[in-house]
Every structure is written in C-alpha cells, then in structure tokens.
C-alpha cells in the first residue's frame, strides 16, 4: 500500500513515499529546465529499493502550465468573440488578435441578435490571414446557449481543418464572459504541450514498472486522473500552494483553524485552513495579469522571503521584493533576512561572520549593533507577513453574500496555529504566531509538506445544474452540456436526482470508479417564474460535489486507506 506524491516546484522538486500513514522515504532535488527529468530524478530517489508494482497511486503537482503561461512560451491564439451588447467592446483587450462577430444570446439563452454570417466569414478569413492556427471561440452567455459558438467553430473547422479550436462553453460554464475568454484562450494555448508532457510522464512511469493510476493535482486541492487532465490543462496552475496546504492539513490534527506560511527564497505563500478544510477562493485564479475561471484555494503570495534584499535608505531599513542571489552569509552580494536570522542564532545556514558583517553594514550608520539591526530586519519580515495574514482573514469575512442566511452566517475566526513550512520558516514562525496570538507549529516533514500534500490529495468532482423549465432546457456547467427538457412540472427533487446522476456520469468519464454515495449539496435554489401573476415555470440552480478531503493524517495512528 504505497502512495507517491511529487511536487515539481520553482526551485526544488520533492517526492515522498507514504506507507500506511507513515513517510517511508522522501527526496529533494533541484528543479532543472527539463521538468520531466527533475520529476523522475526525485521519484527514483524516493523509490530506491522499492518495487514499482507495490505502488498503489501516484499524484503529481507541477508548475508546468504555470511556467508556460508566465513565460509566454505558447503559440499565439486568435480570438473569435461574440460579445453582443453590454460592456463596450473596448474592454476586450487580451494582447492577441481579437475578431468580433455580431450576434447575441441573452441570460436565458434566447437568441437576441442572430449570427451575422457574412461578418463571421470575414472574421474567420482575417484571423487566418493573420496566421493564427489556434483559435478560441467565445460568446457571451454561451453557457446558456452554445449554438453561436458551435456554428462559428464548425465554419472555422470546415474552412481550416488544421486549426485547433476551443469553445468557451466547454472550458468554462460559469458566468463571466471575460474570464471565459481568458480560460479558453489559455486552454487552447497550452493543450498541445501539455498532452506531450502527460504522454512522457506515463511512458516514464511504465518504464519503471509503475502501472498504478496517476493523478494530477489541481489548484483547488482536488485531483484528476492524469490522462483525463489534458482536457483542462489550466486547472493545474498554482497546484504548488495547494500541495503545501494539503500537506499541512495532513500533518496537523483535524478540525484546526490554521494559517499555512510557506517562506521561500523570494516569496512567502499564505493559505488558510478553516476548521480543518482549506479555504477556496471566491473567484477564479489570476495568472500573468489574466483573470481566469480556474477554481483555486485562497492563497496569497507575499513578495518577501529569506533571500529578499535589505537596504538602508536614509534612516530607514527597507526590504525589497527582488532577489540578487543567495544571502550575504552564503556568499551573496547583499544583506538579507537570512543573514539577520544567522546573527540571531535562528538558523545555521551560511557563515556567521559574514552575516554579522552584513548586519553591521546596515546598522552601523544608524548607531545599531549587528544584533539590533538583525532584530529590526526580522521584525520587518514578521510585521509584513502578519499584516498580510490579518488582511486575508478580513477579506474572507468581507466576501460578498447574496442571500440572507449567508449574511447572518458570517463569522469571525482567527487561527489557533500558525504552521510553518518551507526553508525560511524556522526562524520566523514563532514570532509571527506571537503577533497573531496563536501557537507556532513546524510539523515533522515540513520541508516536504508539499509532496505529502500531493500524496494525500483526493479526486473531487462537481456538477452545477441549471434547469429552466419555461425555456425547456437544462445545462451542466462543468461539461458545457445543454439539452432540451420537456417537462413543465419538473420538481426540485427531480433536479437534485438529475444533478447526482450527472455526478456519477462524470465519475465514470474520469475513470473514478468511486461510488457516488455521498453527494454534498452546496447550493439548491428554486426561482418561481411569475409572469402576469401566473407561475409560468421554474429555474433550478443546483450545485453538488463529492466530499472534499484528504486520504488521512500523517502520524495520527490512523491508517491511510
């Protein structure tokens, strides 16, 4: 019963081998340009002396797609948009060729402006003339009626069979047209490279005799079977912070409210675990200045880390977000928070005398001893991070609410523990915790918490069903599926059953043969449609999911199933 978790991060790639709730082996290697070889190197180290056929399950978390997007290493994507009336079209600036086609659907999926065929032909021709081979076709309210998108995509494929086409309603069914455009564009941009990556991983694992199911971690902390994930490559962005958060969840007792503080070289990642479950962000993730529909944990990246440079400006000591190499005590050019920790005896990294030298250069002109300067620097880091944590809690409390019960349910919660993971954690955590009035915790295996998080992550599936009995159709947001429904007396119970049925269907589709016994209902809303004082139909809005959770807690004595 062996479980493997691998997290390919920006600097390090970590792997762990879990054996019945115990960490049997772990490995940490430098991440190289070639992500696949780093991944395999860590895997081989962790698997040393263990036969591949004992492995039950492998979960990966990788920065592959994040890197592609941030470094813009993808083929350009042309956009065929059908926005119709509403916001000025000037808002639709996505730094790529954008071609607007007249036509519009409304919020109930009724056609309000038919697609203008001639202008569609012209747009397609212009786009091809400009050399785009990857195309995203996105319409406003396409998740309520996908006909226009399908028509444009079909025409495009007819004229240019080599084009790779993505349609908005299949990528992102949630409301928010601009985010749907971005999600579709990025899916289109990354799919081909991602498919290649997935194939390579599968081949490499089978060469090692591992034929257990392989999963990939998503930004929301759930997993997907690796082969199926090629449909939704962008869901794997920001899985690193999700991995650390799940790792902390596995390494701390269930039910606690904690802040996860992952202090790295140049950034500190923060995440919240409220009463034992990681907090999801209320809006989709933002990447490279683009707002997407990708569901993600509420994580925040603060530009301060162990290697951030520290400088004296006049009578002030200031921390900058840049890194100019390693800390001074490890041969770097500038003083850093790590040097301060070294002087205070809170870390053993680097050379003590060089660290004193660095702090002396900062403190001497201000009449401070190296120790005082080191204290000052540490306090700056602690204050910055503590303030950001406070802000995260306030922002969570101030999230919009659209229902009476949601407003009444608003609670105020503060962390009972501050959990440190990552390289720079040890020196700062106890003081950050003290500032917040919480207990500091640095769990065992903190340096590989991310890989542990990957290893214990579980598949999650959701279904959002919208039924409009008056228009006579229903749609499944996650599948981009729309179908006629000819039953004016369709009941709420039937709607719930339909949603559960689709949850089962999706489980089959993704090869998750888990029994869908536990269906969690997140939202069930019924809207009576009344026209001229007569009830003419109902709109049901139903959101169900499989329970979110992790395999088990590490070292808690319980066995991982």
């Amino acid at each position: 019963m062996l479980f493997i978790g691998i997290d390919v991060g920006g600097t390090f790639t970590d792997a762990v081998l879990l054996d019945r709730g115990c960490v049997r082996a772990s490995a940490k290697v430098q991440t190289k340009e070639d992500l696949l070889s780093s991944l395999l190197e860590a895997l081989d180290k962790a698997m040393k002396g263990v036969s591949g056929d004992l492995v039950e399950r492998v979960v990966l978390s990788t920065t592959m797609i994040t890197n592609l997007i941030v470094e813009k290493k993808y083929d350009p994507v042309g956009l065929l948009l059908i926005p119709g009336p509403g916001l000025s079209h000037q808002h639709y600036q996505f730094n790529t060729g954008t071609y607007i086609i007249p036509g519009a659907m409304d919020y109930r999926g009724r056609e309000i402006i038919p697609l203008r065929r001639e202008q569609m032909e012209n747009a397609i021709m212009d786009l091809a003339d400009d050399g785009y081979k990857n195309v995203a076709v996105v319409g406003k309210f396409s998740s309520r009626n996908n006909r226009h998108e399908k028509e444009v995509a079909a025409r495009l494929r007819w004229n240019y069979p080599d084009c790779q086409v993505e349609m908005g309603h299949q990528v992102a069914g949630q409301l928010n047209f601009p985010r749907r455009v971005v999600s579709t564009m990025l899916t289109c941009a990354t799919r081909e490279k991602y498919e290649y990556f997935v194939d390579s991983v599968i081949t490499a694992l089978s060469q090692r005799g591992i034929d257990a199911p392989v999963f990939i971690l998503k930004a929301d902390g759930g997993t997907l079977p690796l082969p199926c994930s090629t449909r939704v490559p962008i869901e794997t962005i920001f899985s690193g912070p999700a991995a650390s958060t799940l790792g902390v969840q596995a390494l701390t007792p269930p039910g606690e409210t904690s802040v996860v503080v992952d202090i790295g070289g140049t950034t500190t990642d923060l995440a919240l675990i409220l009463s034992g479950s990681p907090l999801l962000a209320s809006k989709g993730a933002a990447i490279d200045d683009y707002l997407t529909h990708v569901r993600a944990l509420a994580v925040k990246s603060v530009p301060v880390g162990g290697d951030s440079i520290v400088e004296r400006v006049g009578k002030e000591i200031i921390i900058y977000s840049e890194r100019l190499g390693p800390p001074y005590c490890q041969g770097g050019p500038m003083p850093t928070p790590t040097d301060a920790l070294r002087v205070l005896g809170l870390t053993r990294l680097g050379d003590k005398d060089r660290a004193r030298e660095a702090m002396d250069s900062l403190g001497a002109p201000l009449g401070m001893s190296p120790g005082e300067a080191a204290n000052k620097v540490c306090n700056l880091v602690i204050d910055t991070i503590s303030a950001e944590i406070q802000l995260m809690f306030t922002q969570w409390e101030q999230e919009p609410a659209y229902r009476v019960w949601e407003v009444l349910e608003k609670r105020k919660e503060r962390p009972s523990t501050v959990v440190g993971v990552g390289g720079g954690a040890a020196g700062f955590i106890s003081q950050i915790a003290a500032t917040l009035g919480a207990y500091p915790v640095i769990p065992p295996y903190a340096p590989v918490a991310n890989a542990i998080g990957a290893a214990v992550a579980l598949p999650t599936l959701e279904v959002t069903l919208r039924v409009d009995t008056e228009q006579g159709y229903y749609s499944i947001e996650e599948e981009g599926f729309q179908e006629a429904l000819d039953d004016a007396n369709f009941t709420e119970q039937q709607a719930l059953d339909l949603a559960s049925k689709w949850l089962g269907k999706r489980a089959d589709k993704y090869g998750l043969n888990q029994r869908i016994e536990d269906v969690e209902i997140i939202r069930r809303e019924v809207f009576n449609m009344v026209r001229n004082w007569v009830t003419t139909g109902k709109i049901y809005d139903i959101h169900v999911q499989t329970p979110r959770g992790i395999l088990g807690h590490i070292g808690a004595g319980g066995e991982i199933k």
Partner: protein, 451 residues
C-alpha cells in the same frame, strides 16, 4: 488612480413577500446573470462590498415602528438598509467615489410611522442612510432624487418638515398609479417650504422629457441647494417595458440621468420588468456611475427612434418644471403664514393605506413653527387592521439641531402622553441626543436605545 465605484449586490435570493409577489426571489436573478456575465465586478473601476446589517437603533432613529422595530423588520430589511450604510461610510471616508446599493427589499414608500408594509416597503433605506450620515458623519445637507415611477411618498413624508433635506421626485401622475400622491403643490411644510418638489408626469413620457426635467429643474436646484451628499432613489420602473408603470424611459435615458446627476450614492427601489429592463438598466447605471462607456448597453427590443414624445404631454411636464423652478427661486420670499395659516403649530391630517398589509392609518401630524430651530413633531396615529382592535400611538420627534424650548416641550408631550389611557404605545425619537424611547401601556414598560 481615480477612485472606484462601490457596489453592494444583495439580491436576497432567499427572501420574498410571497411566492408570486413582484418582490420575490427571482427579481434580481437576471440582473445577477447580466452583471456577472459582463464581469462587472472584475472591472478595475469597481469595488464590490459585502452587505452588513443595520442596527435596530439605525431604524428607530427614523421610523416609529408599531409596536416596535423587531415586529416590522426581517433580517432582509436590516441587510438592505445596512448595505446602504456600508457604502455611505465608504463614500464619506473617501474609499470610493460613489456607490450603488443594488438591494432588495425596497423602501421609498415607508413613512415615518410604520404599521405594516405598503408599496412593498417596510423600512425606508434612503431615510435610514440620511439620518445615519447626519448623526455618524456630521453631514448637514442632503439631496434625495427619486427616479421611481411611483411617487416616493415615504421619503417625502419623513423629510416634509426638514429644510436640510431636499427631496425631488419625478414619477407617473398620481391619478393613474399607486400611491396617488406627488402633485406639484406638495412643496414641504411651513418650516421647509420648497425643499420638496414633485414632477408628476402623464403616462407615455420618455427620455427627451426626462432630460428637460434634469437640465431645467434637478441640476440647477441642486446647484443652489449645495448638498453635502446626493442620493438617487433609483427606481427603475419608468422603463418602457415595466408592467406596473406606463412610462417610456430607456436604459440609455436612465444612464444619462445618472451621469448628469452624479450622485454620491444610488439605492435601488422599484422596477419589476425583471427580464426586459432590470439587467440592462442596472448595468447601464453601474457604468454611468463608474464613468464608463454605456453606449453598448441596449435592450434587445429597442432601437433608436422607437419612441417619439407626445408634444402635448411633454409640454405639460415643461410647464410643471417651469412652475416648480419659480417656486424654488421664490421660496425664501414666500408668504408662509398665508399658505399655512397662523398659529404656533401647523397641523395636517393624513389617511394612509397599506396596500400590502391591508391596514388603514389615520394620522394627525403637528409641527411646531419654531423660529429658533426647525421645530419638533407630534404624531397621533391610529392603525386599523380589519380583524383586530385598532392600535393608537403618539409619537414625538426632536430634530437634530433642536432648540432648548422645543426639546423641553417635546419631552413634556411625551411624558404626558404616557399617562393617557388612549395611547397603546408612546414614542420619543430624539435625534439631537440620538436616543429613542418606546413606551408600552399594557406592560407599563419603557424601552430605550441609544446610538
């Protein structure tokens, strides 16, 4: 960077007056769809706020709820009013340049005395905001412009004797629509003559005439009045597709009005064309507040030139506007004694019908014609529901900057009324001290709240 426009969107998807009532869960569903699909909340010019609850004292500062606040409000009412306060705080503190509380339930038909629900309203969200801003932030002069198709009779009632609150309402002629008031001769009491202005419009009036009202009455009067804060009571049922109103305003017309008025805050009121108007109107108003281009917002069944104004009806409105402009300009030289009569008090008798709750109220309202302050108010009211004994109350209001004599007299009146058998409840609303008292005869008990 320029300041943002603050939004609170509170559609109350779990609150309705009754399943088929126009004020039901569905009302803002399509508006939600439209503004979320447009990605409005992601625009850099927009900041979304969470709603909060108003306190019972915030309500008591404005209303005499019979028998008490808790019996007239649901949580939804407190959230709707609280959302207005939340944005009001953010505007005054300078966090945002203006705000739009897109909230249910509405409030502009709720008068000072509340026996029940009338015109879908229990609590007047704008009035709660006005007195909160004056009490909490020390604002003095506030203008409320009501753009609902129904006369904002509740708001008018609450500020009828208050010269520091300018109330202008344009609406469909009261002879053809609920609540049947809002005529051009309703101009405020003797202590506040001319700070209530009503423009009744004959059915069928459109954008062009709205523009005339804005340019020739609203904008110049506001310029004269110099308010510290402008509130738009943003009813949306003047729209051509509204099932309750008979006017012909468009989304574009509403947006132009919003741009020219440039209010500090807008608070959603009525508007029951939940599919054909609200999604487009709300979007256009948000864009206008954020000073973004709203020219792409078009109702699906509208084309420029679809409506032409009826010249005769339009000129009727023009004449009303000209008359009110004249009243406004001569308000300080008006012969108040001639209009309102002589004596220490001005008194009026009101019959108020609560259409939602079938309550009939008879009221005598007296205002002290004080020359040192705006005078205290005495209200004697009797509310009758068919199936039970009528409820009789006496209520006293002491204004913000009350003089000592008025304060003394008002408290005397309150204490005397407590001794009289005929009143079931006696109320004191002292805005100068921010204290509210509520006496219940049967229990011989007095409750008080303080801000």
């Amino acid at each position: 960077m320029e300041k943002k426009t603050g939004l609170i969107f509170f559609p109350a998807f779990d609150w309705a007056i009754s399943p088929t009532h126009p004020e039901r869960e569905e009302r803002l569903l399509y508006t939600r769809d439209q503004i979320f699909e447009e990605g409005v909340m992601d625009l850099p010019q927009i900041r979304e706020y969470a709603p909060r609850l108003a306190s019972l004292h915030d309500i008591a500062r404005v209303h005499f709820c019979v028998p008490r606040v808790q019996s007239q409000v649901t949580e939804a009412h407190l959230i709707a009013a609280g959302s207005a306060l939340q944005l009001g705080d953010a505007v005054v503190s300078g966090d945002i340049k203006n705000g739009f509380a897109m909230v249910r339930p509405p409030g502009h038909h709720a008068m000072r005395t509340v026996h029940g629900n009338r015109g879908f309203c229990n609590i007047n969200n704008e009035a709660v905001l006005v007195d909160y801003l004056r009490r909490r932030h020390g604002l003095k002069r506030i203008a409320i412009i009501d753009s609902d198709v129904h006369h904002g009779d509740g708001t008018q009632d609450i500020f009828y004797h208050d010269p520091d609150v300018l109330f202008i309402s344009f609406h469909q002629d009261g002879r053809t629509i609920f609540p049947g008031t809002g005529f051009s001769h309703e101009l405020g009491g003797p202590q506040a003559y001319g700070t209530t202005l009503n423009v009744p419009m004959p059915p069928g009036i459109g954008d062009e005439t709205l523009e005339y009202i804005v340019d020739n009455l609203i904008v110049p009067v506001i310029k004269d009045f110099k308010p510290d804060f402008i509130i738009n009571s943003a009813g949306q049922d003047n729209h051509y597709s509204d099932p309750l109103g008979s006017m012909r305003f468009t989304a574009r017309g509403y947006a132009d009005f919003t741009r020219k008025l440039n209010p500090d805050m807008a608070v959603l009121e009525g508007g029951y064309a939940i599919e054909t108007a609200l999604p487009y109107l709300n979007l256009a108003i948000i864009l206008a507040l954020a000073r973004l281009d709203y020219s792409y917002v078009l109702e699906p069944d509208y084309w420029p030139g679809r409506f032409t104004e009826n010249a005769e009806r339009a000129s009727k409105v023009h004449r009303t506007v000209d008359y009110l402009r004249d009243v406004w300009e001569k308000r300080n030289s008006a012969d108040i004694d001639n209009i309102f009569g002589k004596g220490d008090f001005y008194q009026r008798k009101k019959f108020i019908y609560y259409d939602t709750d079938y309550i009939e109220e008879e009221q005598i309202e007296k205002v002290k014609k004080c020359s040192n302050c705006i005078g205290y108010l005495l209200i004697e009211s009797r509310g009758e529901r068919g199936y039970r004994a009528p409820v009789r109350i006496l209520a006293v209001t002491v204004p913000f900057a009350a003089c000592e004599a008025c304060q003394q007299e008002a408290y005397d009146a309150y204490h005397q009324a407590k001794k009289k058998e005929q009143y079931d409840y006696v109320y004191m609303q002292d805005k100068s001290l921010d204290t509210c008292l509520n006496y219940e005869r049967d229990k011989n008990h007095e409750w008080s709240t303080e801000g």
